[in-house]
Symmetry: C2
Subunit: 605 residues, 2 copies
Amino acid sequence: MADDVFSGSDEARSTQYSKYVRWATFDEPLALENGEKLPSVTVAYETYGELSPEKDNAVLICHALTGDSHVSAHDENDEPGWWDIARLVGKGCPIDTNRYFVICPNVLGGCRGTTGPNCINPKTGKPYGKDFPNITIGDMAEVQRRLVAHLGVEKLLAVVGGSMGGHMALSWAVKFPDQVESVVALATSPRLSTQSLAFDVVGRNAIRQDPHYADGQYYDQPAGPDVGLAIARMLGHITYLSPIAMSEKFDATRDQPKDVKTDFEKEFSVGSYLAYKGQQFTERFDANSYLALSMAMDQFDLGRTVEELARAFAAGKARWLVVSFTSDWLFPSFQSKQIVRGLLRNGKGVTYCDVESHCGHDAFLLVEDVATYGELVRAFLRNALGAGRHEPLDARWEDHSPTSIFHQSRRLDYDTILKFIPPDTSVLDLGCGTGGLLSRLREQGHTRLSGVEIDQRNILACARRGLDVVHRDLNKGLEWYTDKQFDVVVLSRTLQAVYDVEHVMDEILRVGRKCVVSVPNFGYYKLQDMLQREGKAPEAGVLRFKWYNTPNIRVLTIRDFEDFCAAKGITIHDFIALDTEEDKEIPADRNPNRNADMAVFVISR
Amino acid sequence: MADDVFSGSDEARSTQYSKYVRWATFDEPLALENGEKLPSVTVAYETYGELSPEKDNAVLICHALTGDSHVSAHDENDEPGWWDIARLVGKGCPIDTNRYFVICPNVLGGCRGTTGPNCINPKTGKPYGKDFPNITIGDMAEVQRRLVAHLGVEKLLAVVGGSMGGHMALSWAVKFPDQVESVVALATSPRLSTQSLAFDVVGRNAIRQDPHYADGQYYDQPAGPDVGLAIARMLGHITYLSPIAMSEKFDATRDQPKDVKTDFEKEFSVGSYLAYKGQQFTERFDANSYLALSMAMDQFDLGRTVEELARAFAAGKARWLVVSFTSDWLFPSFQSKQIVRGLLRNGKGVTYCDVESHCGHDAFLLVEDVATYGELVRAFLRNALGAGRHEPLDARWEDHSPTSIFHQSRRLDYDTILKFIPPDTSVLDLGCGTGGLLSRLREQGHTRLSGVEIDQRNILACARRGLDVVHRDLNKGLEWYTDKQFDVVVLSRTLQAVYDVEHVMDEILRVGRKCVVSVPNFGYYKLQDMLQREGKAPEAGVLRFKWYNTPNIRVLTIRDFEDFCAAKGITIHDFIALDTEEDKEIPADRNPNRNADMAVFVISR
């Protein structure tokens, strides 16, 4: 069967180990979380790059269910690794092996060199088979910890993982909070969704009910449970792709299956694909490992509620990068958001992005979206290594998000907002754009800074500046934050672009002890005059948008905002009106409702 | 194993036939679409209600993959039928057996009485097994047609089906266009999505690779391919539920599996559920039927493009009701929309609703959303039977959709719009609400009327009035319609609530030879004066909304609209300005931009 029948896959890989694989054996018995013991453990691993003299540049990569230690080719003659399609690891890559010392072990329970069910059980002299103990994700992390220590690393710069590898990264943060500077969790979850768990159940049933499974002791038999394993793999493949990706791949050629050699059905193009993938998988993977690892994944459970997750993540000072993919239905975005909420609840530093993608769960392995998720990883790791030296990559302060309604680039309202923020306060900037205001606050010595932003390009810009910003639509409210979690919540030039104003106002007043809100004033005399003289609606006036294309969907005056506060029981503590065109303040006795084009309010409830 | 371990399912049914099952045998050989022949066919069926003397009230119900003829209990002592959870069929139910003569046959290839793989092959004297010919959905429809004729029915009032049953309904419309008055297609598709087809492939592989499958001749063996069939069914079950429904059902009790007697894994609550469902299914279903029917479903293909679907649906005059469910990922909404587009392309009468639901594909069988989909079926069938006698259920003309911006209930703009619509023209009303304008046009003798509406409650109101309205968000454009498909497109008091005005305007001008657009005028003197005197934004003035909660997110004057038309190359043919508060027209020389609160334009490009 030719390897290139279906291209672009991690499947078409050698069943041989790379010559760069190393082994480390730990003879100290391993006490498993479920109470059993393994007398000793061997770990197969590969490393890339050099450990710095300060030993501060080590990055641990945790692979997913069917991955292994070979994350990347070591040289031109080496086989490609499982992250090489995306070119994520290597010289000059996001996980830059010129900069970082990368460690990638095969996991406990795997079948690619590390102790697993296909290894000899010293008690019986035969492979463990189904007598291999019931292991957990935490056990895998413990084995990795031994390896990391063995390599002379006391604290990891970062632990990085996607999917089940993300479970291990989360587990590190929970079990060894003082041994990780930062965590990169891609396309993962605090526990599987019930739907995803159910698919695993069906896959395991297919393996165990295969008559060749022989109660797990098939190693000395002429045939193993290849049919069951192939069926589990076929099912897995469907869940790794998004429906749209499957459609793009197979819809047009539905009735043209490829002529693969298989005992499975090959009626449709997707059928021949699944048959090929399923059968191929049995050549490189062990069914008992599949059972052990998928069960460990299914039992992984940091909590179902935000409160439980907050408790799990309470210890340690790691900074986090969490990335999900919009079309991932196996580890859906809402689960990454749960992780983020658990972290925010503890005031942890976290950057989160829900990458717009067609690629489903596999997105974190593929090249299509690497410009976003790869660059987020690059920026995040750079800032982790260079913590304290935040060099803004973009020298210009101003951002040009669609809610910036005025012509000039200088953001006078920033100066005004900064006046209202006392030193040493915690600040949440809503609709923070590329992080201009947050950067200025950091320059002034603020440390407890957080941002919320809807545009994923801006999230990347903030990550490059080393700012902690989460990806979220304000219209959905601030349920991610607790009551009075921040000293100051800033809503700068954003309210007029929000649909559900009442909800957003309620939310910012709930979350902030004080709120600083800047709003455009549609009572500005130039706009009024335009309406009166030319009969044109305010929006069609001096602003750079027209009535039909402006992002500003809420038209209000300073008076309207004051009336709103009065009606809703909101206290106005302070107020500055601005004519940003003329770059000056409008004093209260100079009729700001006509003469200002913008106002900044300090309010609370 | 107790039936009530997992409740609320169609599974817990007797393996015995209802005493109301009848059989009809057709000895004329059946020429199958794939070229083979069946020497004779027997059909098991049940009927409910009485055929009217005019023979105009027959409704054919087509069941889904694992259903049968027992759609509903015939009396109190009878077993529940597969649509009885929703109470869809019966006296007083949406498919009212006091009103309609309901026919429900078991399908060709099934295992519940109709000729299928478990029946005796006259050539061999043994069950067909895998020698049962490769049948199609069209063959099933042909067998149903024979039965319908046998029962003395020349033309069906309606053919109704969900899921694979929907495929049969579509097939009737394509194969026998003159024998169906109307089609009700629920949770179905013109062809399976690749993802759904892939799940079927995995299920069939599990069955065929089961050693007890014995190449399909397992009927005289001690055991059949129960493991494979159960695995296919477990997989099916996951796809019938939405992720959110699974989560609601199993998340909280994840680690509390029920103690079901099973050879399958029962580690998690969802695992015990799947084990139970899978095992139970093998007691009532035949694996060869599962293979034959699922393959027929997978090969069903009316076309991948709208053009292909339009060709398929070209013949006949049936009216259509198409219903999808938002959380259905097995037969996702976009596929029902493809059907609707194919019908609209031909100018067919079609009502479409995408029912907001948590229940996934199973929604069409369950009670949760029956208040919408069931009532749509009820209203649609009533109008089908009573065609010509459209009695509006709601005597009040006016609708109160959120875009009705003025106080008074009388819609003066309707009168004005009606003036602009010549007799015998085709009209598309966008944002048609409960169908007030369309009803008035129908009263005036118009017949080629269509509506688009975003609110599913309004879709139901329109269906009750016998109007053809499709469920769609205008902001997504009018790609469902071709260039100049309608003589007149009406956009009444909706433009100001649209986000992407330019796109919507381009679209209505593309689809309509002429367009009648009514817009509010925010240059109205009362609003201007309020801004000038009180400093309040126009929206906060005399209208019943405030700036922060109005659905009107686009603020424009009559002048703005005129400027827009000039800038975009749009011709204004006619124009009437109104003061709807005073209930009068404002002539052109009386400064409508100040004195009118609304204007109606006739435009084209």
